[in-house]
């Protein structure tokens, strides 16, 4: 196995919040099969908070664990709080990622942000703070 932390292995083995929200308030996709990782995040927003978040992921162990971790971190957060989540934080929460997995697989926060942006655009609240 790659040198994954126990936390990564846990999220890979038991990924949380898998799926696609049927009538999502926001959708965000990153990656493509060429680079090896794809993530599609869908969110349900209520009162400016992420009420629900789901994802579909095509990718390596790290990509799956990252998706799962991001979904856990995002749930219940305000949109502004969720936009503060960085890929780096996600990696830290996972107890670190192998160096060569930091770039292509660690895109969960980006996908989440895209979903939030999508929501904001649709609702005319696109914020300048989107990273």
């Amino acid at each position: 196995m790659p040198d994954y932390s126990e936390k990564v292995m846990d999220h890979f083995t038991n990924p949380r919040n898998i799926g696609e929200i049927g009538e999502a308030d926001g959708t965000g996709e990153v990656g493509n099969p060429v680079c090896g990782d794809m993530m599609k995040f869908t969110i349900k927003v209520k009162d400016n908070r992420i009420e629900d978040v789901k994802y579909l992921t095509f990718g390596c162990g790290a990509a799956i664990a990252v998706s799962s971790m991001v979904s856990e971190m995002a749930k219940g957060k305000t949109l502004e709080e969720a936009l503060q989540i960085t890929n780096k934080q996600v990696a830290e929460e996972l107890g670190g990622l192998p160096g060569n997995k930091m770039h292509c697989s660690n895109l969960g926060a980006d996908a989440l942000h895209k979903a939030i942006e999508d929501y904001m655009e649709k609702h005319g609240t696109k914020s300048a703070s989107v990273s």
């Binding site: 196995m1 790659p2 099969p33 090896g36 794809m38 579909l56 390596c60 162990g61 997995k101």
Partner: protein
């Protein structure tokens, strides 16, 4: 949990009989074969014998075998050694798009030094067309290097035809037979190759043991310069145990090749049939018949290789993949790209390489596990969900 290794090309256990033959050379007959006193005698004779056995495996004479420490080293000696030391016709090199990196990466370096490199394409099975080779040769072509068989998709090249084309034009023909040696019958004279690379660890010999056959009359510049071991072509105190092990592994391979290969191919074929018929959306890579007996390469649509590999690993099944995440260089397989596989299918490729340790009894378990792992990962794959939607629309 039982471990089912299906990744023997990555590494194989050293054959116990080979290790036994090596054992006395670690502590008892530890002498240096170059020594003038009697401690050198047994090691010296052992190397002579090993060299003969290595030669016999490929129909070559002992004195035309250069011992090295890896297939990569042999490949580097063959090409860079020839171009630095031989009578070059010119600055043109021909190889194929699906060679191992120990060929391709030196070609990149040589290109920077001014050499022109033609990489022949392959068809969707991974075959090089001898006609393509004929057309690529020009007056400047100094060397052609085409592998005997591909370690990843298993495809076996028409070596004799390719070598014949080279010979017509009097161009030196090297073959990287690392994946083929010990598994397919090879004869340097019948096939007419001028140089041939093989490595012991691919057929249950020791790691760190390899050789390069060099046809008499071909001049190479040593790449490791120093002492005059290996007729001055490869310096360094002889690694006697490794050489003895390579010799013994070559002998065993030669004596059992036909039987061993046939037996393993039966298991491999059964595995292939079972997987393809019972797990949906699988895709066979490489040639259906012209392939290494122990090799099976399958793409699992909609999912990525490392995730598959890890899930299978959790079920005790060891495989490898051509996905970018499983490669140290983080690039998906250039071989799968060369046969025209989509990036998605390349990412979901699984390589199975069997050994005599594998048997048909394990196939139901492997099939079941691959099926459930694929289903589980597809369930979270955006590509699979998209496929389902499109299927619904089309229906």
């Amino acid at each position: 949990m039982k471990t089912i290794n299906l990744d023997y090309s990555a590494a194989s256990p050293l054959d116990k009989a080979v290790l036994e033959k090596m054992a006395p050379f670690f502590t008892e007959h530890y002498g240096n074969p170059s020594s003038g006193h009697s401690l050198g005698e047994i090691p010296r004779k052992a190397i002579v014998e090993a060299r003969e056995q290595i030669g016999l495996l490929i129909g070559a004479e002992a004195r035309d075998i250069i011992l090295t420490a890896s297939a990569s080293e042999s490949n580097n000696l063959a090409i860079k050694g020839l171009l630095a030391g031989g009578k070059k016709k010119g600055n043109h090199i021909i190889s194929s798009a699906i060679e191992h990196f120990s060929i391709l990466n030196q070609l990149k370096t040589l290109q920077k030094q001014g050499f022109k490199v033609t990489l022949l394409p392959v068809d969707s099975y991974g075959l090089v067309d001898p006609e393509d080779l004929r057309k690529a040769i020009n007056e400047e072509t100094s060397i052609i290097s085409i592998q005997a068989a591909n370690p990843e998709i298993g495809t076996v090249q028409p070596l004799e035809e390719l070598a014949a084309v080279a010979r017509e034009s009097e161009v030196i023909f090297h073959t990287d037979a690392t994946a083929a040696a010990g598994w397919l019958p090879l004869d340097v004279n019948k096939t007419g190759v001028d140089m041939l690379t093989l490595a012991g660890d691919q057929f249950f010999g020791p790691k760190g043991s390899a050789s390069l056959f060099v046809r008499r009359g071909i001049r190479l510049a040593p790449q490791v310069e120093g002492g005059i071991q290996e007729r001055g072509l490869r310096a360094g105190t002889e690694n006697v145990p490794a050489i003895v092990g390579l010799g013994e592994a070559a002998r065993l391979a030669r004596e059992t090749l036909a039987e061993r290969s046939a037996k393993i191919a039966i298991v491999r074929d059964e595995l292939k049939e079972k997987l393809l018929s019972e797990v949906p959306h699988l895709h066979l890579n490489g040639h259906p018949e012209k392939r290494l007996p122990r090799n099976l390469n399958i793409s699992v649509e909609f999912v990525e290789g490392e995730a598959l590999l890890m899930r299978l690993n959790m079920a005790g099944i060891m495989v490898s993949s051509g996905s970018s995440c499983t490669s140290q260089a983080l690039k998906s397989s250039h071989v799968l790209a060369a046969i025209g596989l989509t990036p998605e299918l390349a990412q979901g490729s699984l390589l199975f390489t069997l050994s005599s340790e594998n048997n048909v009894d394990d196939i139901p378990y492997i099939t079941e596990k691959l099926g459930s792992v694929a289903a589980l990962l597809r369930n979270m794959s955006p590509l699979y969900h998209q496929f389902l939607k499109e299927a619904q629309i089309n229906a």
